[in-house]
Amino acid sequence: MSKAVDYLTFSLGKFSFGIIASDVLELNKNLSVTHVPKSPETIRGIANLRGQLVPAIDMYQRLGLDNPARQQEAIAIILKIKSLLVALLVDSVGEIISLEDDTFEQPPPNFPEMSRELVFGVHKLPDRLLLLLDPTKIVQGIHSSKKPALIN
């Protein structure tokens, strides 16, 4: 017995991630972010989303990925986590795919501890591995976040 779940896919460098689509409020290009000095490195700054202040999270930093080109991410995924709005800055957003439980797997045990908190599972797709992110964990760990190293 399996139940299909919709995931919004996005990419950071060579990695593909999925996030449960119903948590996503909207996608926003050209979100202008104001830097907040002395805030955690994982927070790029704060942005104005139609009159509401929304923290913008640097997903490269949050996942401990190298962003060698140091390029500006192209798009922001606006998530509603409980009552909090956050913007995840990512390189690009792919399609929404519906996945069933039979491709679901626990994250491999050789994942570093920090990332294992964020990635609650993986889906093996024919062409790639989709890492599933838990939105609440993205926000929860921000104060204490040391630099996690995902995969090298």
Partner: protein, 749 residues
Amino acid sequence: MDNTDDILVEFIIEAREILDQLDLDFVLLEKTPDDKKLVGNIFRAIHTLKGSSGFFAFKRLEKITHAGETLLGKIRDGSLVLDKQKTSLLLLTLDAVREIVAAIEATHSEPEGDNTQLIEDLLHLAHGVALAAREPLEASAALQLPPTQLAAAADKSVSPLPTAQAQDWGVELAQEVAQPVKVNLDLLDKLMNLVSEMVLARNRLLPFVKDFDDHHFTGAVRNIDLLTQELQERMMMTRMQPISQIWSKFPRLIRDVADECGKQVNLVQDGADTELDRTLLDAIRDPLVHIIRNCIDHGIETPDQRAHLGKPAVGQILLKASHENGMVVIQIADDGGGVDFDLVCQKAIEKKLLTAEHALSMTDMQLLEYIYLPGFSTKSVVTKLSGRGVGMDVVKTNIAKMGGSIEIDSPRGQGTHICLKIPLTLAVMPALFVRCEDERFAIPQNNIVEMVRLDLAHDSRGLEDFYGLPVFRLRDKLTPLLLLNHHLNLSQKFPGKDAVVNIALLQAAGTQFGLLVDEVLNMQEVVVKPLGPLFSGSTDFAGATILGNGSVALILDVAGMANNSGLLAKIQARPLNPVQVAAKVTEDLIPMLLFELPGLEFTAIPLECVDRLESFTAEKIQKNGKREVVQYGSGIMQLLRLNEYIDGASPTPVKSQEPLSVIAHDVNGLTMGLVVGKVHDIIQVPQIMQNTNSQQRGLQGCVILNGRVINVIDVQEILRMRRIQDSEILVYPDSEKSEVAVIDWKRVQ
């Protein structure tokens, strides 16, 4: 929140409304015990409460309300007459109900407790059985007013509140008048946000009108423009609420406190429909309650004392609210004994805040400052109402926190007059924008003392280092400096030896310090928005604001920065200006503004009397009758040529080609412009003045500083002369003239 919770929240809101209304009704009912309609209203309200508590199975609440209803029923059908005992018992019932409702609100379930005594008493009274001697009403029944006095009090009754007034015909009109709708505050805030965004979106749309000739399009845009504007105005109105919302609780409060003190007090309200932002409304409630308690407990005398003084037995408290220059002014006045200055003085000496010989030279105005000190109380015994010394200091800090001010005026024996000035809304505040590196920051205006531009090349000392703390000299006083770029880790640049730097002198957390910024931009009203939980660790920012172009600017938290940077700790460890501190202890220096008058080269005015310095060209001066006036802001400022009022100054006017230097002095909402010659500097002068033998017109006396005689003008006397001269109404608090200069320079700082 699930469904039952929703309903429960509605019940709590409703219960609170009913309780507030009942408080009012009962006090009114005591004065007009025959008002059947009022009894009916009260009965129905209690009944509603009973019904709702039955629905939620709040057994305790149900029992109490049921007993209350029984008693009220008898009063309603005329078989019993409401007297003082019954009122007090019913009010006790109300308090019990309020307690339970508060507990339900906190825990969502009915608290444990026992009210059998109360219920028994209610039922006894309802069945006409006299209460046993142990009944709990002794205390509140202590104030047994003869019925005639009660009636007299009722005649001069409280100017009824709108709500109380409305209820008379509210019953008849109930079918026609639309009931106000309860709206969740979060929803209102969201709407507010959306409307601001709408305004921005409209602003982006407007420029397109120019590029298109299509009049259908331009027409549609105009329409949107107008609608948006109206929408915004209406939306702002939803935030504003009448002050009567909190005042409606005061008649009951005053009755209770007065009862407890064995005093009789009548409340007069004026301007209950004055509106202010609802967040501020919440914030001023406690300070107001405190002040009113003080008025009754400290101010108003017992009926015996009042009779002895030839005052009417019933004391008066006046509450007045009005709008003035974008501020809300709330005045609280009583006709009691005023502040007991001798007692304040005595207590200050007891607490070693003041030496006995200093006390002799203290004016009433100076003594008033002591009542703002934490832990200061004139009551020797701690009572339920007062004596703990927590009070006026909290009031003052609370008012200051919302950007307001408090003034107390208390002529001996003539009651106290307290004036609170608070901004209309907290959401919008004026802020100064500064640039540091590539980023823009806003500094709240109430933290800003002055702006300083320092030319390091010409200032021989420039920036110095004081045990690891950068400092600069401001009028020969070492002032700590915080480099914004260093503090926020924006860059490691340090101003060069010959740079010209911009420094904002800020005050917060009881200290003053300079903030070095790259550029001072503009002043603007900003809407403060919280940064949200993810930034809870950063105490450098008080929030952020969204600018007209949609970008975000951070608002600096001045007190937080002083703390974080270690600046505060460093100053506390090593006082910067030890000499100055010593001078403050002996309190013999006061700041004055030094200026020239034709014929009198060195003249000074206490800095306290200087509200602003302005400069006008001669052509700006216009005539209003025989007075000279200039347009000033949205109003006018009367000009007063100082040299005409002071002995020794030559009466010929200052040369009219040059721009006039004017000292703006605010007197009870009016601005007087004192026209002077050249303005020199701020000087510190000894408080004890040399009084010349013969009194000179317009002068308080003179001081000697660096071998020069400096004439200190007497602003009050000059204003008095002016008033006599054109016999206009310019209310100025006359304080006693004393031999020593009466200047209260904010000694607390």
